[in-house]
Amino acid sequence: MATEERTQIAPAVVEARNEPVLSIRDLHVWFELRRWGFLLAGHVRAVDGVSFDLAEGEAIAIVGESGCGKTTLMRTILGLVRPTRGQVIFAGRNVGEMGMDGLRWYRSHVGYVQQDPYGALPPFLSVRRILEEPLIINRIGNHGERERRIRKVLEEVKMAPVEDFLPKFPHMLSGGQQQRVVIARAMVLEPKILVADEPVSMLDASVRVEILKLLEGLRRTHNLAVIYITHDLSTVRYFSDRIFVMYAAKIVERAPVEILLKRHRHPYTYALLEATPDPDAHNATVLKEVPPGEPPSLVKPPPGCRFHPRCVHKIAGLCDVEEPPYFEPEPEHLVACWLCR
């Protein structure tokens, strides 16, 4: 377990900037697998030793393929899943130990923007009612005060004129407008953190940038910390400060955006970047370099580095035996790869 000690030491070096609004400490989320209802058949290690600090007003992107654990990480941050080990600390309190009241208080500070806006909005409620719901649940204001906040937040997400949209139902709105309502709902309680799960993947290319710029604007005006969960590196590049690359339940590389794009060290990060196309007709004339195989099972992850079975730079006798610790090739840049030793 030598590696885990190191993962805990390293963040202190990296994140001395300002007071973190959220701290993730050595987070493990394992789901039990049972056979015939009672025999423990093992665990799905969905999140396996993740630590980081999120500074106030900072935007980070967690990038990885489906099944890498990024959604479980997000659900744990939202307090929907209790960690098996480790902590999610917000304002000095451990989210994993909170009761119902504590969680309600916590969730009023953490907004959630879902991936599919149409699925996330109740079809039988009007926009006004959708936005009023969180205020009612948290017993905020009287009717007039709530109405004032609803109008304010709709203006903030640039749904003008507000009057036109308040009585509408989700199916009457375009995809982009629906996503604005989802963002407004996440913002109406004036949270400190916004968790956005693939906020633009269901939208058209032209609307995507509009929504991302809207989120960026909100972040600046409210000094909001944002966690983007995504598999698309090209969209987060302009809208986040740091990028975390996740593979098989672990963060394998993390760095500020420019460093990650220009001086990435992990072979998996390289593969992700290589596979992401830019609009260039030359693409049609060549084949892309893609690592063979598929991500490993999280029930029995491979020993050593979890990427080694697909890695072209594998060092036999090392990568397949011992798990790489985090190396720091330059300040603020952490890589879990033996190539950086």
Partner: protein, 319 residues
């Protein structure tokens, strides 16, 4: 370009739908042509009519069709003139097949995927079950699905594998043209790159032609020989992919290209303000005029399709 023999020529294709709110002009006088072993990508925002156009070519139409007219020439035959049964037996899935949107989630859950891939070969190519299964295995090798997956069911496969199965189903009858509707939109980047590699190799080795429909411009460049941009039911620009991606002509194409986030170039993406017009009562002039930064007086009239630099563009700026 016009001198070469064309595999597919679509002329003046019109497809209107009847709805309770009025007539929706989903595809409005579209011309398109495609050579042998050629790939054209059709890009545009959702609701611009790109899927309707593909379905019109394959005659997979819903019941509320109001107008369906024009010419679709496949080689020498005008397939619009064929009877429904004739079209089913000789064209659909025989010469033109399709990978519909979200095909990976539309596989039959109670059939083994091998049998599913073999089915079109039995029905359309008249193979025996045994031959068809062999053919299906051949397709599996080609699209990169391990052969022993043939006896599995769709739910036992990952998204990428299911998408490969859907593609194998479209290829099993050896069609000349495959229409791919958003083949990678729900997949991860690495899977997406794998599928694109596979589609490229199939095009190089088998000489099929593709019509690729997508709103993902970056991915579209992986397959494009030519690019067609569709806006509000019309094609506004068609041209060679190299020239298009280097410098699009139509103001809408330019805006669309500016909205693409790039990984390798330092170019902050921008969005297009406003919304596409309603297809129930589209503007009489240029349909993009309302959102266009270079709008001038002439834009109130419908612009003609003009040839500029070997490309076609429907814009008054180039007249």
């Amino acid at each position: 370009m016009a001198k070469e023999k064309r595999l597919l020529e679509v002329k003046n294709l019109v497809l209107y739908f009847r709805t309770t709110k009025g007539i929706v002009q989903a595809v409005d006088k579209v011309d398109l042509d495609l050579g042998y072993n050629d790939a054209i990508v059709i890009i545009g925002e959702s609701g611009c009519g790109k899927t309707s156009m593909a379905r019109a070519i394959l005659r997979l139409l819903p019941r509320n069709v109001h107008t369906y007219s024009g010419q679709v020439l496949l080689g020498e035959t005008d397939v619009m003139k064929l009877g429904e049964e004739d079209f089913r037996q000789n064209i659909r899935w025989v010469r033109i097949s399709m990978v519909p949107q979200a095909a990976m989630n539309a596989l039959n859950p109670v059939l083994r995927v091998g049998d599913q891939v073999a089915e079109p070969a039995i029905i359309h190519s008249g193979m025996s079950r045994k031959e068809a299964l062999e053919q299906a295995l051949k397709m599996f090798r080609m699209v990169g699905v391990p052969e022993d997956f043939a006896t599995r069911y769709a739910f036992e496969l990952s998204g990428g594998m299911r998408q490969r199965v859907a593609i194998a189903m479209a290829l099993v009858t050896a069609p000349e043209l495959v229409i791919l509707d958003e083949p990678t939109s729900a997949l991860d980047v690495l899977t997406q790159a794998n599928i694109m590699n596979m589609l490229k190799q199939i095009k190089w080795n088998l000489g099929v032609s593709y019509i690729l429909i997508t709103h993902d411009i970056s991915t579209s460049s992986e397959l494009a020989d030519r690019v067609a941009v569709m806006y509000a039911g019309q094609i506004v620009e068609v041209g060679d992919a190299f020239r298009f991606f280097a410098s699009p002509l139509h103001p809408y194409s330019k805006k669309l290209m500016d909205s693409v986030p790039r990984l390798r170039a330092d170019m902050e993406p921008d969005f297009i303000t406003g919304q596409p017009p309603s297809l129930i009562s589209p503007p009489t002039g240029c349909r993009f005029a309302e959102r266009c930064p270079s709008r001038f007086e002439r834009c109130d009239a419908d612009p003609p399709m003009v040839v500029q630099d070997g490309r076609q563009v429907k814009c008054w700026l180039y007249v």
